[in-house]
Amino acid sequence: MLVKLVLTMFNPMIMIDLMVVLVAGMALGFVFRNRKRVNLEKVTLSTILALIFSLGFNIGSDNELLASMPRVGVNALLISLLTIVFSVVFLEIARKAARIK
């Protein structure tokens, strides 16, 4: 049961697709690195906004998520903030130690 649940949530194919698209973009960018630059700012900004809109849509249409917020909201708030702070601190320490620029 548990294994089945993990497998339904965990879809490696989507992650592979994302990786392929990213690498293809990088390869093309590298090949055309000396060409005259086109401005991609507008494309990126409007796509980011489309992505954030659909993220919001997923939240708003998720009744289970909305129902869980008032019940566990305060606990979730504290845990998420501490998780963020500790991960940032640990990363900064590790970066200094390993000299990652």
């Binding site: 973009g25 940032v88 900064e92």
Partner: protein, 203 residues
């Protein structure tokens, strides 16, 4: 920039809520599957292109090399410790709170999984805590970047490979793309295992 993001997020939440609860004007999947995946794929391609064309970014990545994997590992340890401290302060089951923060922001995974392993109350907590991590990261990237160059990558956790990636790259620069994506990728990969492994600890 953050202004537009807030507006887009708010409009999305309202549209999703209205469409879901007052008779669907169109299937939810149009936005949550088609628009989401299309914009994500397009963004990754464009950001990859910008990275590949940026000589400085490519050189910087070559210099970092294998050390890049220290990034997701330190984020994982920090996240789980954050959950431990949070659970201690709240006086709830420590194993449960650690498992919740071992979702690294992937709420659609951490919610159901924590619910299965620790009961409904922790399911709701896993859902909400990880969702808030994603939300806070998007909202706080401009602030976080002042705390450290890759602080938004840490805050984003597993979401640094998709939903929070474009915002991170915009504020941290093109050379953060690979670190952010790989860190999110590794954290997404290990999240199901960290949650289940922590759940196996004695409680």
């Amino acid at each position: 920039m953050i202004k537009y993001i807030l507006v887009a997020l708010a409009l999305g939440i309202i549209a999703g809520y209205v469409n879901n609860n007052y008779g669907p004007a169109f299937p939810n999947g149009w936005v949550s599957d088609y628009l989401f995946n299309f914009s994500l794929i397009l963004l990754l391609f464009v950001m990859g292109f910008v990275f590949g064309a940026d000589k400085q970014a490519v050189a910087n990545f070559r210099k970092t090399g294998w050390k890049i994997f220290i990034v997701p590992l330190s984020i994982a340890v920090g996240s789980i410790l954050g959950g431990l401290v949070g659970g201690y302060i709240l006086g709830i089951n420590l194993v449960g709170s650690m498992a919740v923060s071992a979702g690294f922001g992937w709420y659609t995974l951490a919610g159901p999984l924590a619910g299965q392993l620790f009961g409904a109350e922790f399911g709701a907590l896993g859902f909400a805590a990880n969702f808030l991590r994603e939300l806070f990261t998007i909202l706080a990237v401009p602030l976080l970047v002042k705390a450290g160059k890759y602080a938004p990558v840490a805050s984003g956790g597993a979401t640094a490979m998709d939903t929070t990636l474009p915002v991170i790259v915009r504020y941290c620069g093109a050379d953060s793309l690979i670190i952010a994506f790989l860190s999110g990728f590794v954290l997404s990969l290990i999240a199901p295992f960290t949650i289940t492994a922590i759940a196996a600890l004695p409680r």
